[in-house]
Subunit: 435 residues, 2 copies
């Protein structure tokens, strides 16, 4: 274990080792949970506890007391870490980890928090996975997804393309949930893929002590073996550990801070449901395995901003972004795609300077239509581009990608309003609401 | 009618008068619908057509052609505009119009677009309303709600208080839908009320030619007569013209750009359902008529901004707002309430300068919890205030109001985290998701 010096002494005194259930008290707060190993570079005076809620907390042991509640079990597994021979009858699935709760959950089962996520960690934790595929696993980076930056999208896309070139039959990406839908949209625009690319993670909602990671990963591997050669998000479909939903990467959004079924298709429905690692039902047409050749296009303009409108917003905020050299703006407007009409002049300025402004709606559901009200018509006259039925998040990613393809305003407008990766429905359906 | 000169000549030539069904063609576009009167100050060369979708379009008649399809009916009503005597057996309901689609719909039925909305317009359009109450009606202002500014909230609150002081048994506010939920939150914080204050409007979704205004107003009057003395939003509960839902003013949000049941309770459920102008079911406890005395508190700090986080956001945007003299910020973060951790320093700056930063989530559903992940803890250490289970929009309004009560950071923090008007649930329930 990586505990040493102060923290090792603190643990040894209480006869506590990794995997034990402990109670740590400090000031007015107590934490009960399982002692985890921690990363190599963690500060010495901290220990990491996995709470029953499933979340990890780091506790500074200064002036803390510790009590052993119960010695821990050894990991209950069949697989003990030996090198696995590939079985030529099984699909080769590449698992790429990027950090986030899902990795820590996997580590939880093995009783260790490693900054580097290995095939052995994964398989030790989830030996059932060995039955359904061969694996190549790599840790691409290790960030909480709220810290994800646009450059990570490029790295992930390149890594996926490498694996496909190396013969992977499908890709599973383990990712934090906060910005999973931004990444899924980015990979959707950046990669034309002959094989499934499935992003999954863990939400570990505090309402249930058990983890959702295993079901999500198991079904994500199932989806990666399937015929659905698109970029998708595979997560719980309900509060129960039943089905997983496979969402189109450009039509999905995190909609609840803690529920395990937080990811929902917006203005669409899941392409498929999975159960026990197998497709259970298909709801939408999809691109089939091998239909597309691999094509990578990671050009991206990162000087793009997403701005939310509200009563009291001022034109200054648009001017600020123009003055700062932003190349494109996505507005999260109200209703059918509105900004206060006193903002029209500054939108016109953006247009005159060749800066595309894409309008989306804070309603999230439904489509932009700037033809209905006078305000919308004014905004259109000033150059605002309808984001149609894209979420603000997908429109943001798409604008960054579109500006990577062209800096010509008319061309960017055309890209925004052309379906590239399933992000635009041909006809908007009212039925996709809160489903 | 207010058409004159060019437009009158254009209409006269085709023997068209207000209320007639016409086809206007221009360039490659044709509009078929009912000719409406237009406002006094409209430009001469425009005519206004009510499309079958329910929406109004203004068409510049230059180089347009017009065809009469069918002469219009006279308004089919029993009430012809005479002064109505108040019936002492009926409740006195005050109807305040602020503009938006709902007013134009009412006008549609009377066949005229008046900039000033009168009791006569309303009752001529909806004579059924006469059966259930006496009315005082006033046009407070006439703006599309995307153009609503914070000062309008103050005017509306003052107008409501006047009417309550004048003996109104209930208030109905007709409002545009784009920012209805911002106004409902503002009035919730500004007014303690002994009588119901019900905000309603019309969505006029393009999927159905018929208007939703009448059902909404009729049930809003029903709610205004009820025992529920809170600020509420009364709108369609489904796509059908069946029930209306009565939402808590601080727990509601427009969730679809065009559906008539667009308003949904977030992290809550409607207080009640109404049908045929009567309460049909009660879901939540509520403040009863007369329980509160009228108290008006319209102090508001308008220098507050709502900022959405996204991968690639930079600290500059926070610094910009601090430098511009903003007094408070609401962040629409990711997940449980996160910003990239490189933003922590600038949040600390805001805190050091006494500027409250309230964290909300772009998930919308669920509650903020900055104790779970390291990023959240860093943000809290830098002074970020949890918006708990408030929507970003309600948190924005509440922060503006809180800063109107105090400029002391600790006091503002306390107000934000104290339930004032039903905006905070005592315990967050996972069950309120997409309902």
């Amino acid at each position: 274990m990586t505990y040493k010096e102060i923290s090792k002494e603190f643990l040894d005194k209480a006869n506590v080792t990794i995997g034990d259930r402990i109670l740590v008290s400090k000031d007015d707060i107590s934490y009960e949970g399982i002692l985890l190993d921690r990363s190599e570079d963690a500060k010495d005076a901290y220990i990491v506890i996995k709470l029953d809620s499933g979340y990890n907390v780091g506790v500074n042991i200064e002036s803390a007391t510790i009590k052993l509640i119960e010695k821990g079990d050894k990991p209950k597994i069949g697989y003990s870490g030996e090198k696995i021979e590939k079985d030529s009858n099984k699909d080769n699935i590449s698992i790429i980890s990027t950090g986030g709760t899902v990795s820590s959950i996997i580590d939880y089962k093995s009783g260790a928090v490693h900054p580097k996520f290995t095939a052995e960690d994964l398989l030790r934790a989830n030996p059932e996975l060995l039955d359904i595929a061969n694996y190549d696993v790599k840790a691409l980076y290790n960030v909480l997804s709220e810290n994800m930056e646009t450059e990570y999208w490029v790295k992930a896309a390149e890594s996926v393309a490498d694996d496909i070139n190396d013969g992977a039959d499908g890709i599973v990406i383990a990712h934090g949930t906060d910005t999973m839908h931004y990444t899924s949209a980015a990979l959707s625009f950046m990669i034309k893929t002959p094989v499934p690319i499935v992003i999954t993670g863990a939400q570990r909602s505090s309402d249930r002590p058990s983890t959702d990671a295993f079901l999500n990963i198991y079904n994500a591997v199932g989806a990666a073996k399937s015929d659905i050669a698109e970029v998708t998000v595979c997560m719980h479909n309900s509060l129960n550990d039943g089905d997983c939903a496979l969402h189109k990467g450009t039509k999905v959004r995190k909609m609840h801070t803690s529920r395990r079924d937080t990811f929902r298709s917006i203005n669409s429905e899941p392409i498929a449901l999975l159960s026990d690692g197998k497709l259970k039902s298909i709801n939408l047409p999809y691109i089939k395995r091998g239909e597309n050749k691999l094509k990578l296009n990671t050009n991206l303009e990162t000087k793009v901003a997403l701005i939310k409108s509200f009563p009291g917003i001022t034109s200054d905020i648009i001017d600020y972004h123009i003055d700062k050299g932003y190349k494109g703006l996505v507005i999260e407007g109200t209703g059918l795609g509105h900004l206060p009409d006193y903002m029209v002049e500054t939108l016109q300025r953006a247009n005159d300077e060749g800066i595309p402004v894409v309008m989306t709606s804070q309603c999230l559901y439904g489509t932009i239509n700037m033809n209905v009200y006078s305000t919308g018509r004014l905004l259109q006259d000033a150059g605002a581009i309808s984001g149609l039925d894209m979420t603000p998040e997908t429109a943001y990613v798409k604008l960054a990608w579109a500006l990577g393809q062209s800096d010509n305003l008319d061309e960017v407008r055309k890209i925004i309003q052309t379906n590239i990766a399933g992000e635009l429905n041909e006809s908007s359906s009212l039925k996709y609401f809160l489903n």
